[in-house]
């Protein structure tokens, strides 16, 4: 036990004295949170919208007012014909054109059915998508109100994505994503690099010719990074709650416990890398290319998995980050309890045991190739 | 014939803040001379050598290498010197021929004569069969011979050698010194720094630096007589024991 503590103490010294790793450990989560929270936000505010109203009745007037009053849109221009649309987009006067057909109010009240067209400037597909979503949400709200007044069982499913994100805040999406990526980066990369460093420096040679058991070397290397990663999780959550004003809907204890499990998963991946390579460069390269890239692509954070071809969807199941990301979203955003994340938790735990077993089995007790 | 002065320093000084790394050293090295530049860790050898290679400017004093001033003519100096260190010499994952061509190119030898020169060199070293093998697969002794040959391929006025024969077997080491003698007979000045005093015995003349200054200079035989000891190790120990600073 004394050996273990000496080791942990030593490991903290390494981290504290290496400015680069300190910056990565503390700076990276902060920078990523701020970047995603403020700079790279996918929220759209005061986007210009043009109106082409062939109806010009009370209903269209109310709806246009609503849109204009919302924080997302500013009504910029009224058009007279569809021919003007292209010009408006070209000059950048509007990102979205809302077209009301003739007899809009009439159709709505009589037939309970009407059409309405939203045309977006899709040269920036993401923004186009978001503005359309926002606009349809406002229209849907309006329709719901109408329905309520007339006591008719009439609903329209418009966009499920906003179900748990009524304010359409993008932080709901990226906070779990940032947590996932940070853990992958720090847990796997820093652990593997720190072990491989001992090999490169030749200190591993001395440690091997000592009574220390291999498992001890691995565990005592992993524990300090586990603590550091856990502190990072807390740091990210604090930032999420107090700076980005994103409440944690579910149980905090459950969220932290699941995070701890994922940290252990990433640490075992780091250990697995480190027992197989001999240089810090290779360890870093593998962590970035073989771990971070798939994590980024397959976690569901950047690209929706449902839209991928089937083989890639199947592959995404092998990526631990996908499961953790879905756990965090479930607890943080949807406020679900343990039984809803049981499946993901079991999969993560299984992966962890698998990685750890291989890492320990492959750890060499000597220098034989 | 051996009178041309190739390295000249006069009161050469280099300070880092308050620390005087090199303290008013003066010496001359003639063309074709094998000059041993000795000193303990931290005595100022490396700093002095960097100045002579044009990598570092002196604080004060005069120094010229191959007739070029170290203050102003660094680029000309670099074209007229060769450098070989035991640590860095050749690219292990290139073949012998590729290494020769690469370094020859760096030293500004034109393509045509480089082709001729590199084939000549391969023949002279008896490496006809090994020319297309990776350098990493060759024994240490061979690597050292190749890297020395590469360092003098462009016929420099001076070649700087940093602990050139450390770790090789006694026969290979002597074969290496044969090459150094040959270069010196051709008029190339050889400037050797080393920790190993038996390497110093091979030099025409040596200087020993202590605490940034030159404490002794002369032929090995003269120095041994002067300090009444059997070998250069004895000379060095007597001088360096009084040293105040270490790295």
């Amino acid at each position: 036990m004394k050996v273990f503590f000496a080791f942990v103490k030593k490991e903290f010294w390494h981290v504290i004295r290496d400015k680069r790793s300190l910056i990565i450990l503390i700076g990276l989560p902060i920078v990523m949170m701020l970047l995603f929270g403020f700079a790279l936000t996918s929220e759209v505010k005061n986007s210009n919208i043009a109106i082409l109203d062939f109806s010009k009745d009370q209903a269209t007037k109310t709806l246009v007012e609503r849109i204009d009053q919302s924080q997302y849109f500013t009504v910029n221009k009224y058009l007279d014909s569809e021919n003007e649309m292209e010009g408006v987009f070209r000059k950048g006067q509007a990102r979205l054109v809302l077209i009301f057909p003739q007899n809009f109010e009439n159709d709505l009240s009589k037939d309970k059915k009407t059409q309405l067209r939203l045309v977006a400037d899709a040269s920036d597909p993401n923004t186009a998508n978001i503005t359309i979503n926002y606009a349809s949400a406002i229209i849907r709200d309006y329709q719901n109100e109408l329905n309520e007044n007339k006591k008719l069982p009439y609903t329209i499913e418009m966009e499920t994505r906003m179900l748990y994100n009524p304010q359409l805040k993008s932080s709901y999406n990226f906070v779990p994503g940032v947590m996932t990526l940070i853990m992958m980066l720090l847990g796997a990369m820093m652990t593997s690099v720190s072990i491989v460093k001992e090999k490169e420096m030749g200190t591993m040679e001395i440690l091997l010719v000592s009574p220390m058991k291999p498992i001890m070397v691995l565990v005592s290397k992993a524990v300090p990074y586990m603590v550091l990663c856990f502190l990072d999780i807390i740091l990210i959550l604090l930032m999420a709650v107090y700076i980005l004003e994103m409440p944690i809907q579910g149980s905090l204890v459950l969220l932290l416990a699941e995070s701890l499990l994922f940290i252990i998963t990433t640490l075992s991946l780091g250990l697995l890398i480190s027992v197989n390579v001999n240089s810090q460069q290779v360890a870093m390269f593998i962590s970035l290319v073989a771990l971070l890239m798939p994590s980024l692509i397959f976690s569901g954070f950047m690209f929706p998995i449902e839209n991928m071809p089937l083989p890639l969807q199947v592959m995404s199941n092998l990526i631990p980050t996908k499961w953790y990301y879905s756990i965090v979203k479930a607890i943080m955003v949807k406020g679900l309890s343990f039984e809803f994340v049981l499946k993901q938790t079991l999969i993560l735990a299984g992966m962890t045991v698998f990685f750890l077993t291989i890492a320990i089995k492959k750890f060499k007790i000597n220098l034989e190739a | 014939m051996m009178s041309e002065i190739v390295i000249h320093t006069e009161n050469l000084t280099r300070k880092f803040g308050d620390f005087v790394a090199v303290n008013t050293i003066s010496f001359d090295v003639k063309a074709g001379e094998i000059f041993g530049f000795l000193g303990a860790n931290g005595a100022g050898k490396t700093t002095a050598m960097k100045i002579l290679c044009g990598l570092l400017s002196p604080t004060s004093g005069v120094a010229s290498v191959a007739g070029f001033d170290v203050y102003k003519e660094n680029e000309q100096i670099k074209e007229n010197i060769g450098y070989m260190s035991q640590k860095f010499s050749l690219y292990e994952n290139l073949t012998v021929r590729e290494n020769i061509r690469f370094f020859g190119g760096i030293y500004g030898i034109d393509r045509k004569s480089l082709k001729v020169k590199s084939e000549e060199l391969i023949q002279r070293l008896g490496l006809g069969l090994e020319a297309d093998k990776l350098v990493g697969s060759l024994p240490l002794g061979w690597k050292q011979k190749i890297s020395f040959s590469v360092a003098i391929l462009h016929n420099p006025k001076v070649v700087f050698l940093d602990e050139p024969t450390g770790g090789v077997d006694p026969i290979t080491r002597r074969q290496f010194w044969d090459m150094i003698y040959e270069a010196s007979a051709k008029g190339i000045t050889v400037f050797v720094t080393t920790h190993y005093m038996d390497e110093a015995e091979y030099c025409d003349r040596v200087s020993i630096m202590v605490d940034g200054a030159i404490a002794a200079m002369g032929k090995p035989s003269e120095l041994k007589k002067q300090f009444a000891v059997e070998n250069m190790d004895g000379v060095f120990l007597q001088l360096a024991r009084g040293a105040k600073r270490s790295e």
Partner: protein, 309 residues
């Protein structure tokens, strides 16, 4: 009593393609300061790694303090001290922190065995807060030795401890080893530098994975009965080439300012050599018979070993 016993050890790398150790046998007595002397690539580090359980030999047996290096791996790791060739301490930890860490790893404390390292440690103690990476070569070696000694090992393995260290620190290091001998610690030390052989009780000369000879330095040299001439002259390089071209020359190698020459015919033809050199118009030629030194002897054994192959 043997502290280290090596019997017919063979070790190859890259699936047998590279022969690192070729059927080596060697005994080191308890309390001995034994030197393994040979150039880089001779197999010194491989042998050290086999004895410290870091590598497994293809063939042969070895014991350290009576323990088998394969079967009693964990027992050996408790009782040996090892200083690898490359400086292998934590560069970002201070002298004090390194020492404490290694003491703990070996289940002991600095206080417990301080008597063992005291006279070495006092030399670096004034800098104990300094990071190991910022120490001079000599101080690093001293710290590494302290770390290897801190658990009172029975056998100490020092792989090229004085490479890259200046002559003053080198001499101090050997003086420290002399004092350690009085503590009944067996020391196996390797070096490529022949001049350090005189500091060992016994030495083994090793080259290309083979042992050329094992004995005391005096005995190894006295076995070399070859007649050796030291030849000096003004034009060193021309002299060397002319002697080599001489028909009676067996070997001629530069040794500092002199050339060491062995003649095929032995001493009686010395006069012919001086006459030959006079004909070649060499000036200031001095020829005198000398006692061979360890390098002369190593060269002779090397050539003999190559000829028998």
């Amino acid at each position: 009593m043997s502290s280290i016993s090596i019997k017919n050890i063979t070790k190859t790398y890259e699936k047998g393609k590279v022969l690192a150790l070729d059927n080596i046998s060697l005994e080191v007595k308890s309390g001995e300061l034994f030197g393994l002397i040979g150039p880089d690539g001779a197999g010194k580090t491989t042998l050290f790694r086999i004895l410290t359980t870091l590598l497994v030999a293809d063939q042969g047996q070895a014991t350290v303090a009576g323990l088998d290096v394969v079967k009693n791996l964990w027992d050996i790791r408790k009782i040996v001290g090892y200083m690898p060739g490359k400086f292998s301490l934590y560069q970002d930890l201070s002298i004090e922190e390194n020492l404490n860490f290694f003491a703990t790893v070996f289940n002991t404390s600095v206080e417990e065995n301080f008597h063992l390292i005291e006279d070495i440690y006092v030399q670096i103690e004034p800098f104990k807060k300094r990071l190991a990476g910022k120490l001079s070569g000599g101080m690093k070696q001293k710290l590494a030795l302290c770390c290897a000694l801190i658990h009172q090992p029975k056998v100490l393995f020092l792989d090229e401890p004085t490479t890259g260290v200046d002559p003053v620190s080198r001499k101090e290091f050997w003086d420290m080893l002399d004092r350690l001998k009085t503590r009944a610690i067996t020391i196996l030390v390797s070096t490529p530098y022949m001049d350090q052989a005189s500091r060992c009780d016994r030495i083994a000369l090793i080259q290309k994975g083979k042992i050329l000879d094992i004995d005391t330095l005096q005995n190894i040299i006295s076995k070399n009965t070859q007649l050796l001439l030291a030849v000096k002259g003004e034009q060193r390089f021309r002299l060397l080439n002319d002697i080599r071209a001489y028909e009676d020359t067996l070997t001629c190698f530069a040794f500092g300012e002199e050339n060491h020459v062995v003649l095929k015919s032995g001493r009686e033809k010395v006069d012919f050599l001086s006459k030959y050199l006079a004909e070649k118009k060499h000036k200031g030629v001095e020829i005198k018979p000398i006692e061979p030194n360890i390098e002369d002897t190593f060269i002779k054994l090397m050539l003999e070993s190559e000829n028998t192959q």
